[in-house]
Symmetry: none
Subunit: 203 residues, 4 copies
């Protein structure tokens, strides 16, 4: 069935990617064999290899997909017009995370991605870019607060961006491993922390 539409090719690629993601989540990336992917996708070895030229490419494609729209969503949140208080911002962000962490959700691959990044330069570069991007969005948020006069001008917005970013992976981990945190709880935790008195007790 040759001379097939672009759309058909795109559908096939997604079919393979989805099948792979299901396998990766179910058994883990390394425990997933190509045979598993063939079976799950309903395609033959040759067909899969026509669209992706190695298992690595499938892994990378899947991981790229993971975090892309998370950042896009977050950017919209930060740039939205009524400037949101940090606890609400965090809660909404966390809610998005939760919605992507369901049984088949791509965020279940996050720990595997972090792990792979330690030795696969390709993935390392992608993850580093992603971290940097989300951090910069946090930084922009902080700057808006400063500009609005809600924070002193000398606030270190870059450092704050890095700190705020740091909360996200820890929330994901807790969702995936202990399963006992909710976005709402994260918000309450954040509210508790936003107090100058937490800093002034050196006396």
């Amino acid at each position: 069935m040759p001379r097939v539409s672009e759309e058909h090719l795109e559908r096939r690629r997604r079919q393979i990617l989805d099948a792979a993601r299901v396998c990766f989540i179910r058994k883990g990336i390394h425990a997933t064999s190509m045979q598993d992917i063939f079976a799950e996708s309903g395609l033959s070895a040759g067909a899969v290899y026509r669209y992706y030229k190695s298992k690595n490419e499938i892994i990378e494609a899947n991981i790229s997909t993971v975090v892309g729209d998370l950042h896009a969503f977050f950017r919209r949140l930060v740039d939205s017009d009524p400037l949101l208080p940090v606890d609400e911002l965090i809660e909404r962000f966390a809610s998005k995370v939760v919605s992507l962490s369901g049984p088949d959700g791509p965020l279940r691959l996050a720990p595997a991605a972090w792990s792979l990044a330690m030795h696969e330069p390709e993935i390392a570069a992608y993850m580093a870019d992603n971290i940097t991007g989300i951090r910069e969005t946090w930084t922009r948020y902080m700057r808006r607060l400063v500009d609005a006069g809600l924070l002193p001008p000398e606030t270190d917005v870059v450092a704050a961006g890095k700190t705020l970013f740091a909360i996200l992976p820890g929330f994901v981990l807790q969702r995936l491993l202990t399963k006992d945190v909710s976005p709402e709880e994260l918000r309450r935790g954040m509210r508790a922390l936003c107090r100058e008195s937490m800093l002034t007790l050196t006396a």
Copy 2:
């Protein structure tokens, strides 16, 4: 009738574990073959298998080692007498993390551990316990602040513990992947965030 001392056995076990850790960090856990471990440790296959009965056992033993003393260190910090302000506490905790993330540092295995926990119940249980433990220590810290009258009695110390815990993995990730955060910067970021004004802008 053991011919060799307990101490000898313990030394061998550590020798194997260290060799394995070096390999795991250098090539990744999955890319490390038992042959690699034999070579790095200078022991034969038979010898290694006398002390650990599978590769999995070596992995688990290594991962258990990773986070054990991190928690112990943190507990001491929290329970120390002059109650530390949160930014300083975090900076010190982060410094410890940094000292364990050097070229051969066990914390480089953290992402691999998180990833494995998604499919290895053994490791999942261990990691969950560890998370819970550290979180409880954070909660205890928050309670001390409340008890000292620095925070209102209605503060949700449990939620705050979960939020504070969340910062740690994100800091580790940034250290390992973007390499552009310092404990001191994390502290500054924390200082910026501890302000009631971050919550009151809904208007």
Copy 3:
């Protein structure tokens, strides 16, 4: 009811054969995939398979082409009227060989053909016929020498034909592997050997 001319078909067949030869020479017959041939010829899989029904057929067609005109050329040389001395005959034959051994020359496939003949009956038969044919031409040459009174009547012209034939493959191999023989040198070598004194030293 063929819509296209015979000539068109023939052109297509040659197009495929030439593309295949280029690939075979460049990468070796076994390392050449059908995909390589599709790409080099600019035709699709279906098109190529319309003209040749297997890779083997393409190989065989190519190998048949290799040695066909070599023999025709040699026959003309031997039957030409001023009977040529053996050294000149050999030099001219060798020159032809050289002209067919250039970068894209079909003779570069000769070793592959010899090798395949060891296990492919089709090719074995073809090569055996070819060897026999060239040998017989050499025999005819020797007979002409005898008839001309230049050699004694009891000369074993068949054995001499086999011996003369034997020189050719060795020359080809040296051209292809050590690249340090010329037709002219082969001629000089032959001149040196054509001396009765080479046989009479038993004493």
Copy 4:
């Protein structure tokens, strides 16, 4: 069964090489799968790969073995004291060739080796060395004839060496493909050619 003698290891290597040679000759090098070699050698995959780290290495080892002692034998022949006439020398050399071309004889791999040399630099280098070596021995033979006063001092011994060498591959090919030449016939052919009259008919 560890800590095994050198001799044991050597025996294993030969066992594998011999099994491979049998397969290569029976089915051809490319048609021989590693499974074939495992079965023929009676060893497991792992065992074979302990001794040779790839199929290529097995092929190369086998090909190196092919021609080594042929040259050694020939050198002894040439350096033997009663200087042999060329036809006898050739007959004896050819006899050796025949003895190495039996059903399991390593020389059956010669065409495959020539073919591989066209694309495997390793093998190409080996074959080129071998050709050069044998040629030099022929050259030495010719020089001895000159020194003995049997040939004129201006004889081009190098060219003659190249020409004499050339006969060998053609003899091998005829043995393997048409099977209708004997060393004795080659000798008779050579006797017929060693005549000055073969060169003087230009008139």
